[in-house]
């Protein structure tokens, strides 16, 4: 793509997912010469649109945009770069077996709750929003290091403390009380409604290696809410043309800023000269020199495969190797010859996000299987019907169902070769109960298990956060101590993927934070 590319770049970005693209665009806007290398034939990573059945296209990885900060979208002029919306401010509806769906969209009144629950719900959502607002600025900053005399580290810590202190005594106490709790206990002490608790609890464990009773699930929920807070008013959104359109716009923004993008250029290794990163070697054998290498690949691939343990200390390698990075979320794509109908849900709600998580206990039971390398007997799901908002994704009159299905452990006891069809059947049973007749309308399907995603999106474990978001892999120690400020033990090598603070989901913040770190580290 790049014409007359220079032989040496200031920066090479490995991986053209949204974080890599944001990083490349930000670096190019900062005046650096940037080359982005993507292994696949097109950019997008796990935020891409592709065909999964003849004539049917889907966002094969993430299928909703709700975490990308509004200022980042403005900064990279995504609208000017061709990003259009099929839907914004989408609703979230919990499917209730044999009953009317429960609207749990942000700001909704959640009709159908008992008076006590309605009151509690208003208080809970307002409180969680205040917490999210307090934590949100932390996401967009490089985490501090402890025990240094660097004023920036101290300031960063002070800011976090100040944001929490500013909540006021009551809220601060409450935040500190619930911060380490599990979401099961939190919701149990707030609500009566089983369906409401299930729906709110699902968000805490989506994409995570957790059940609602796992410690730290309030943290994962707060993380999600804080990221949503930075995204501003747009709420749950669906780009026209699927998530791939977002990355196409990001790529245009990067190119417009002067970055070169090469696809089908898989990196084999990171070049090291004089104990610093000096460029990359492609699988083709081509060597490209650069002052800095910024990897959006996950930490295990970056350190253990592309760089190699022999350039790293043994303790650091041990930490990277022990990162918990096994995905538990599967992705189900169905091609339908007619619009599906879900019981208890109106047409407007179908255009939004549908949740199948009837109760916390149900989610916990679904998760229990995963602990023993089995898939859930009755999986929980987050469903979208993208063609209702964007008919271009399927032939006229036909539709696509896209669902995140949990739990499907990366390492399945019986092996995915044997388990794939059985898991598919379990998921279909659950879906058929909520949408009778759905099965008969299927004309094509695809199930992406974590190993499939690991292959397609080139991540170890097929984890959409690259590494579990948990207390010990969070903020100042994400992904591991010694690499938590986007810098790595190797001078000139940086991380910009979901494995860094603030984590995964289609946010792009890790990419931007990393770019800022590179810009300060290497002033031209």
């Amino acid at each position: 793509m790049a014409a007359a590319a220079p032989s040496r770049f200031d920066c090479i970005v490995i991986g053209g997912g949204h974080n890599g693209l944001v990083c490349a665009a930000t670096l190019a806007r900062g005046g650096r010469s940037v080359l982005l290398l993507e292994a696949a034939a097109r950019v997008g990573g796990a935020a891409l649109t592709r065909e999964f059945a003849p004539g049917f296209r889907v966002s094969a990885g993430a299928h909703l945009l709700h975490l990308m900060p509004a200022d980042l979208k403005r900064e990279l002029q995504l609208a000017e770069n061709g990003l259009e919306w099929a839907a914004q401010g989408m609703t979230t509806t919990a499917l209730v077996p044999g009953g009317a769906g429960l609207d749990v969209s942000p700001g909704s009144a959640a009709q159908g709750l008992s008076p006590a629950d309605a009151l509690a719900y208003a208080g809970y959502t307002a409180r969680m929003r205040r917490f999210a607002a307090a934590l949100a600025p932390t996401l967009s900053r490089v985490p501090p290091r402890l025990g240094t005399s660097d004023w920036a580290d101290r300031l960063s810590l002070l800011r976090l403390g100040w944001q929490i202190r500013r909540l006021g005594r009551r809220d601060m106490r409450e935040l500190l009380r619930i911060g380490g709790m599990n979401v099961y206990d939190l919701l149990e002490e707030n609500f009566e409604s089983t369906a409401l608790k299930g729906a709110l609890g699902l968000d805490a464990v989506l994409g995570a290696n957790f059940g609602p009773r796992s410690p730290g699930t309030v943290l994962t929920l707060l993380y999600r809410l804080a990221a949503e807070f930075t995204a501003g008013e747009a709420g749950l959104s669906q780009p026209k043309g699927g998530m791939g359109a977002l990355c196409d716009a990001l790529a245009r923004a990067a190119t417009a800023a002067g970055a070169s993008i090469r696809t089908a250029a898989p990196v084999a290794s990171i070049l090291v000269e004089g104990d610093r990163a000096a460029g990359v070697v492609l699988e083709s054998g081509e060597r490209i020199a650069a002052q800095s290498v910024i990897s959006s690949a996950d930490p295990k691939i970056t350190f253990l495969r592309l760089l190699g343990p022999r350039f790293l200390d043994a303790g650091f390698v041990r930490r990277v190797n022990h990162l918990r990075s096994r995905g538990l979320a599967a992705k189900l794509h169905l091609a339908l010859n007619r619009a599906p109908a879900f019981g208890g849900v109106d047409q407007a709600a179908l255009r939004g996000r549908l949740l199948i998580a009837p109760s916390l206990q149900h989610i916990e039971h679904a998760y229990n299987h995963a602990k023993y390398a089995e898939f859930s007997e009755r999986p929980v799901m987050e469903i979208t019907l993208p063609t209702l908002n964007d008919p271009s994704l399927a032939p006229p009159g036909q539709h696509v169902l896209s669902a995140v299905v949990q739990f499907a452990p990366y390492e399945l006891k019986e092996g995915w070769q044997n388990g794939r069809q059985r898991f598919m059947d379990k998921a279909m049973t659950v879906l058929e109960e909520c949408a009778p007749g759905l099965g008969a309308s299927i004309v094509g399907s695809e199930l992406l298990t974590p190993p499939d995603m690991a292959r397609e999106f080139r991540s170890s474990g097929g984890h959409w956060h690259h590494a579990d978001l948990a207390f010990d892999q969070f903020y100042m120690v994400r992904p591991v101590p010694g690499a938590a400020q986007h810098r790595t033990p190797l001078e000139g090598l940086f991380l910009c993927g979901a494995g860094c603070h603030p984590g995964g989901g289609v946010m792009g913040v890790a990419g931007r934070n990393a770019a800022r770190q590179v810009l300060t580290a290497h002033a031209p």
Partner: protein
């Protein structure tokens, strides 16, 4: 050996293959545990054994020393990433003294690497550390196995040791240079002999199958009868190693894997082992931290002290002047050296007092019939080793 392992709860300490022979000579009945084995601390008296090291030949059972076999295509890159020294320079049939560090450049352990004729490397360490070795092996095609139980080891040290080995029938043993390995047959037994040791004197270490242990012990005792051979325990060896200036883990430093308090770890630069650190060989664990330490300046150093008087400065705190206002370090090992006739010590001393020639003051506590007295003794930072006879290097060694 498997039987003994299965019954470990009945007998917490294992017996080395030399145990029966050693026990028969252990008049003082003074045993200490060492790395899971019962070993002799003193056979008769410490003094008798010490003087045998410096004047005759001694046998010391070092079977409990932990030994690992390192084998595979990546054995050399693995070892080079593990230790601070360039193992690539280690020739076949040679031994190298090495240290290895954690990421922070702090010492985990010291030991020796043997490059054997079979193509494998043997790593001898003070502490068991298979976990650190396996972690260090991530990404390397290398096989690591502990072989401590499968190799019996005996140190034969002292000025007449070469003569004893020749009398034993090891033809050509006198041609072995320091840190060289030779292979010999003794009857039906195979002996691997390295010219290494922990005494700072002329000496060898013999490595053999456990089954050969008693035969070799008996043959050595016979061959050494006229040259004053004597079995020694750990106490006598400790005096010899302080004179030689050798470090003892958990005495002169604590492994960084075991320290709990901050600031108790030691880097090889602090321990005076900078000569073992090769920054040019490529990356090794701790390299970046050690480079940073070099740039920032080493804050303290392990040094040799020549202390006034004849009272060993055991555990003494060190001060910058005789008033004892400002503490600048502490003694880790101390003895009255019978051979040097000097009161010597190893100590950790803050910069800049650690320079050769500096004067420091040792606060020595003396227990005189249950009454404690304090003595502030002048001490001078001196070169190590305290005792380094020519014979430890001479090849061939002198005849006796």
């Amino acid at each position: 050996m498997n039987e003994s392992r299965a019954a470990h709860f009945r007998q917490p300490l294992l017996k080395t293959p030399f145990h029966e022979r050693a026990r028969a000579l252990a008049q003082a009945e003074s045993f200490i545990p060492w790395a899971g084995y019962t070993t002799v601390d003193v056979f008769t008296t410490m003094e008798q054994e010490y003087f045998a090291i410096r004047n005759a030949t001694t046998l010391y059972d070092l079977t409990p020393m932990v030994k690992y076999r390192v084998l595979g295509p990546d054995a050399l890159p693995f070892l080079n990433r593990l230790v601070t020294r360039d193992v690539g320079k280690l020739q076949p049939d040679r031994v190298a003294y090495c240290v290895w560090c954690n990421d922070a450049g702090h010492l985990i352990d010291d030991g020796t690497i043997f490059r054997l004729r079979t193509g494998e490397y043997r790593l001898c360490t003070a502490e068991r550390q298979i976990d650190w070795l396996l972690d260090s092996a991530l990404g390397f095609d290398v096989e690591i196995a502990e072989v401590t139980e499968h190799i019996a080891a005996l140190a034969v040290q002292g000025p007449t040791s070469c003569a004893v080995l020749k009398a034993l029938g090891l033809q050509g043993v006198e041609r072995l240079k320091p840190f060289e390995i030779g292979y010999f047959a003794l009857g039906n037994d195979q002996l691997t002999v390295s010219r290494t040791g922990f005494t700072g004197d002329l000496g060898y270490e013999l490595w053999m199958e456990p089954e050969a242990a008693e035969t070799v012990w008996d043959a050595l005792m016979e061959a050494g009868r006229s040259r004053g051979i004597r079995a020694i325990g750990s106490q006598a060896l400790n005096s010899a190693r302080i004179e030689a200036g050798f470090l003892l883990p958990n005495v002169d430093f604590v492994s960084a894997e075991h320290t709990i308090r901050t600031g108790r770890d030691r880097s090889p630069l602090e321990l005076g082992l900078a000569w073992l650190v090769d920054f040019k060989k490529g990356h090794f664990t701790g390299r970046r931290a050690l480079l940073a330490e070099m740039t920032q300046g080493v804050r303290r150093q392990l040094v040799g002290l020549d202390v006034a008087g004849n009272k060993p400065a055991h555990n003494a705190l060190l001060y910058n002047d005789e008033h004892g206002k400002r503490e600048i370090g502490s003694v880790t090992s101390a003895i009255w050296s019978p051979t040097c006739k000097r009161n010597i010590a190893l100590a950790i001393v803050d910069a800049p007092h650690c320079k050769i020639g500096s004067t420091v003051w040792a606060d020595i506590y003396l227990n005189r019939e249950l009454v404690w007295e304090r003595r502030m003794s002048r001490a001078q930072v001196v070169q190590r080793p305290f005792f380094a006879p020519e014979r430890r290097r001479a090849t061939p060694p002198a005849e006796f």
